[in-house]
Symmetry: C2
Subunit: 714 residues, 2 copies
């Protein structure tokens, strides 16, 4: 039996406990405090800064319990996760002290209960390493996800508390705890040897997706012959079986999907040609059930600045949108770490693969015994909790740990520990120490950058890149006018300058001085912006066409390139500008639909050398039929270029054909661009069956002197 | 008490046991059989092929035991290692079956002894994977070192048996088994917290190198303040303390050296400049006691085709030669795996660091439960046995596993297992999955190769390379005439053609068609060889100057480059030609002295663009003062070029200075080469205090048309 408690929150400031206020579980204590104390809207202007005053406080959750154990029953306090350093006390006596975010708490209270008791969860101040710079490095000796200390799309907003569900559970002798269903396939996946971890004597039932019982008995080990395979979105049905473990009074149920997953070497990423020879690139082609699958997806970030407020409904909508956008994988970015358990159930059902990172991001985590002990406890729990999910594709230590801004290496003990734990607890899934690895690329994060760091627009950059995987790449756009009006006070809106609202909402100086709005890029293409509406329209144009050509170019590079995973999918609050394709909480930006288009299993696609064209130039484009479906594709396409009223016929490609999971390169089209009074042009690939594509490009007639502003970093 | 047995060997061929013959322990049963059956000299002509007939046989060692346990004593059979798949039987009853090479056997016989017993060690046939090609891949599902199946410097010669010491040991209640002394340093290495793993109640004594007792007591944990540090050759004294663990009747003793070792990032090997950004190179700069040390050394291979015949005396001479050659590290190449324990004691004493690889080499070892179980047992033993040695620098999974000819990846479970074991049992030492890794280079293995695979001579190749480490690079030379006369029958000697003796002794087709003699390279420089003596002289000239300039160039690339480790040091039998610098058993080739010269801590050195010069050309050379000593160096140097009788003065560099552990670049010298009737020239850097260097280069007068033969692979 499960009993939910009413909790009261308390703020302890400089050792003094304030008045109680209603505290929600799951939730975040700072949010509850803000609600109770009439904080102004956290999203508006500099509202997020109200929480800075709470950073160094201690908090308590208190609840009255009225339990006495009956007939050998045990009374447990159970929580799915408490953030971050906390004690659990009963009647003032400390029963448990620990730190972590993700590990569940299961505390037997039975011997301590009097029938009228007070349970207290005391939350210590957020970890802040002494001597660290203000920001993420304050968390570099702890397992606290660093994103809360401020990121270029997450305000500094330090939260803690009982962010996951918690309750009192009474357990009799018949109690069935957490069960786990694991399996091993034979070589050709025609037989799965299943092992169920559950109490002895239970009846175990396995049913197929139609509810037919496949297997029932009390044996914890049994074999399933020729199970339906679980496939990710686009490759087949994410087939799930239902298991039930039951005794006379209790039962547990869950899902299991049968599939194998490996990382194999990317085609063409072989030995260096010349002596002295280094190694070939690490394997990064996903093989699902023996089939090489192009990973197309996006980077998932925490969907809310208040993690405790994320509901299953939020997860559901975000996952459904990714599935609709033809994605097959989420990279669960390491700066935040894992989601709540229900997220993975939903990904199992939707066929969304999960690349799961641990909670390390852009820091140099130390070879320190205390840190390693906390990491081991957290990681062990996470691995055990998620390893049986069909959606799990791979484990990864964390984000960008082998880059200058982090400073870890292959020898760093936290990463060797994680590899060791994953090997020991879950050898069936690949493990990466970090992303990117050799051969993989992160960035850029602008549409256009003339500096050495990017040298061109995204058409040029990805057109000449040859990576085994693009696991972060971003193109920013501004939020809709509707959102901007919710977050930027009217008198700050235009012209866009470095006011607190624009700065705090990541419009300027989020990363580089001009990001994420990048007004210099707008000036480069269109001259000085004349209105906020125009800026919104232009940044979204760039993001739409930029993501479209980037995703399509990466797909063209298959099979050498095996992944296109943009930075990023969602956001935890209203940003003014960001590389995401869904605004908070789950509102598609125009680019969402461009990405959906670029990720159709089968489409005609154009390799276009650049975004910006002018009359008299020789326009070229390579026409391709892209196919990452498990069946062959064919179709006709007509290629035209539209400039103003003028339509130029470029190609009729009849009966184009692409084998299953292969692309076909067609002809190169070209023409000399005519001189027409227009400011844009569209390359149209017109086909049947939803395989058409359009690319909206910039065009300059000859007579107009292009206004070009020298970029800051030119 | 230890008792040695007299062993009799038996060959079991097609199930039939032959007559007994004397079998030595330690030794190899095939060698004993050959001695007893008058095999012809294994080294001469095709003598090694005599052993092919023994490959699929079973062997037995048998010994009479006359022991009965007295007064609670236990009687153990102990072996330091048996090769490879074996059973141990007493009076026909199997007491143990296992496979492996390196793991010790400790078998309590007490309960089985009658007072008159027969102990039998039965050796099963060598592992040969069904379906594998003839050669090393036959061993790719086992922990048998693949080198025995044939390598380009090791004949196919499959050995097995009791290759390490074995004996009967009687143990009373006072028995002190293997003890281990480990320690942890505080941050600045001023205090070592020592832990002794030994039976309770023993007296533990620690004495310094002068025999003074530093610490004595029965506590197994104690601290040593400001211990003398252990340093590798060239950096300081390899200071060792002696520990003794004793009770009333027994004692054990050993050495401990206090030092810390890490791999840190190579200077200048930073982030990629442009987006998309990959990672920086794995760390490969050795930091010993907080000091960055250039690794200069060599690849160690099994010193004998009959591993059981290797004596401590052989180890001693080989280690002393390496120390004399100014080396500080051995890479214990993975195709063979670890040496016997005494080797590591000697390296501790000599200050020779050890890069220890496991027994994986150039194969694709599988994710197979049986293989993983054997590997785990072998690796666990090896790690525990060697982790406390001061000489141990790092662990490595094996040789060239991430190259096309192997096929393993970062996801291969054997390598993830090894990382996990090393992390768990010995986190204080770095672990590499293999060599080379990203940024590190292996090869080339010729002096000159005009193909895409090398494109030039070693002067050119290493002059333009920029690797973080060169952990294999080889230049072949022929053995001395004295050795050649021992192995090549007179009628095969000259001209050198593809006769069995030249082929079996790796003179031709060892690796590429022309290796290791590379007659095409000799033709390229000197035209058709006129005698074997000339070939010996020319290949040794190339090897001497080639190794000299290669090692010196790699030292110049410090600190970006952190290691120069040539392929290879020694050889297990008489090869006709090889990249080694010591002929079997431990005879220096001329190149040994060239390497010794190139590795002096302080020397003047020249960066010379190429080997082959002609009259009228502009000769250039960059003059450097190299210093990898922990103290500053200075000196004067006079640079001259000698061609025949002519001496051309090029530079007087006065008071050249190089700080501790740093090189200094001096001037570039140049001259137009005069026309002189000579066939070679020497660049002389004449200095005081052993800092002089000379480079013997090829020279062609103008009037002589150079004979150039088109190379095979041009």
């Amino acid at each position: 039996m499960i009993f939910k408690q009413q909790w009261t929150g308390y703020r302890i400031e400089n050792g003094i406990r304030g008045n109680g206020f209603p505290a929600r579980v799951p939730g975040n204590i700072q949010y509850d405090y803000a609600v109770a104390h009439d904080f102004a809207d956290v999203m508006y202007a500099d509202g997020c800064r109200q929480f800075e005053a709470l950073e160094n406080d201690t908090w308590e959750y208190r609840a009255r319990l009225q339990f006495t154990a009956k007939g050998g029953e045990r009374v447990h306090f159970f929580s799915h996760g408490i953030d971050y350093k906390y004690d659990i006390l009963l009647n003032g006596k400390t029963l448990l002290s620990r730190e972590g975010v993700f590990c569940a708490v299961d505390l037997d209270l039975t011997e301590h209960l009097t029938g009228e008791d007070e349970l207290c969860v005391r939350i210590h101040p957020h970890p802040k390493r002494i001597g660290a710079d203000y920001g993420r490095s304050e968390a570099d000796h702890s397992c606290k996800p660093p994103v809360c200390y401020g990121w270029d799309w997450n305000p500094r907003l330090l939260i803690s508390g009982m962010w996951q569900d918690a309750y009192i559970e009474t357990r009799g002798a018949d109690y069935i705890g957490e069960c786990e269903v694991r399996y091993q396939f034979n070589a050709d996946r025609t037989r799965a040897d299943v092992t169920v971890d559950c109490p002895d004597g239970c009846t175990i039932t396995l049913s197929d997706a139609d509810g037919n019982v496949v297997c029932r008995g009390t044996e914890k080990q049994f074999s399933i012959v020729a199970p339906h395979l679980w496939w990710c979105n686009g490759q087949g049905v994410p087939y799930l079986y239902t298991w039930t473990v039951a005794n006379a009074t209790q039962s547990r149920t869950g899902k299991v999907g049968f599939r194998t997953v490996r990382l194999v070497r990317n085609e063409g990423a072989g030995d260096p040609e010349a002596f002295p020879k280094s190694r070939y690139a690490p394997p990064f082609t996903l093989e699902l059930n023996g089939r090489r699958v192009f990973m197309k997806g996006t980077n998932w970030v925490n969907p809310d600045i208040f993690w405790g407020n994320v509901t299953d409904g939020r997860y559901e909508r975000l996952i459904a949108l990714a599935k609709d956008a033809n994605m097959n994988i989420f990279r669960m970015w390491g700066g935040a770490g894992p989601a709540k358990r229900s997220f993975y159930d939903m990904c199992d059902a939707a066929g969304l693969l999960v690349w799961q990172e641990f909670m390390l991001g852009c820091n140099d985590y130390p070879d320190d015994p205390h840190y390693l002990a906390v990491l081991e406890e957290e990681a062990t729990f996470i691995i055990r909790a998620l390893r049986s999910h069909a959606c799990l594709a791979l484990w990864c230590g964390g984000n960008e740990l082998f880059n200058g801004w982090s400073g870890m290496t292959d020898q760093s003990l936290p990463l060797r520990l994680l590899n060791s734990l994953c090997y020991t607890l879950d050898p069936a899934h690949p493990f990466l120490m970090t992303s990117p690895l050799m051969g993989m690329g992160h960035g850029g994060y602008m549409f256009y950058d003339p500096s050495k760091e990017m040298d061109g627009d995204v058409f040029e950059v990805f057109g000449r890149s040859r990576y085994t995987a693009y696991t972060e790449f971003g193109i920013p756009s501004m939020a809709s006018m509707e959102i901007l009006e919710k977050i930027i006070p009217a008198d700050e809106r235009f012209p866009v300058t470095e006011t607190p609202s624009w700065l705090l909402h990541h419009g300027l100086r989020a990363w580089k001085p001009q990001s994420h709005i990048c007004p210099e890029v707008l000036r480069h293409y269109w001259g000085e912006p004349t209105s906020l509406e125009e800026m919104v329209e232009h940044t979204n144009w760039l993001q739409c066409v930029g993501y479209r050509v980037s995703f399509e170019e990466m797909r063209r590079q298959w099979p050498h390139c095996s992944a296109a995973i943009n930075w990023c999918y969602n956001e935890p609050w209203y940003t003014a500008a960001n590389c995401n394709i869904l605004s908070y909480p789950e509102t598609p930006k125009p680019a969402y639909y461009a990405v959906m288009d670029a990720l159709r299993p089968v489409l005609f696609s154009a390799r276009i050398p650049k975004f910006d064209w002018r009359a008299g130039e020789r326009f070229t484009a390579g026409i391709w039929l892209l196919n990452d479906a498990p069946t062959a594709a064919s179709g006709d396409v007509k290629v035209t270029l539209r400039i103003g009223e003028r339509v130029i016929d470029l190609l009729d490609w009849k009966a184009a054909y692409a084998p299953a999971n292969e692309n076909t390169e067609g002809a190169q089209v070209c023409c000399i661009l005519p001189d027409i009074p227009a400011s844009e042009m569209t390359l149209c690939l017109t086909a049947s069956d939803g395989m058409s594509s359009e690319y909206r490009l910039l065009y300059h007639p000859a007579e107009i002197q292009v206004k070009k502003v020298k970029l800051l970093n030119q």
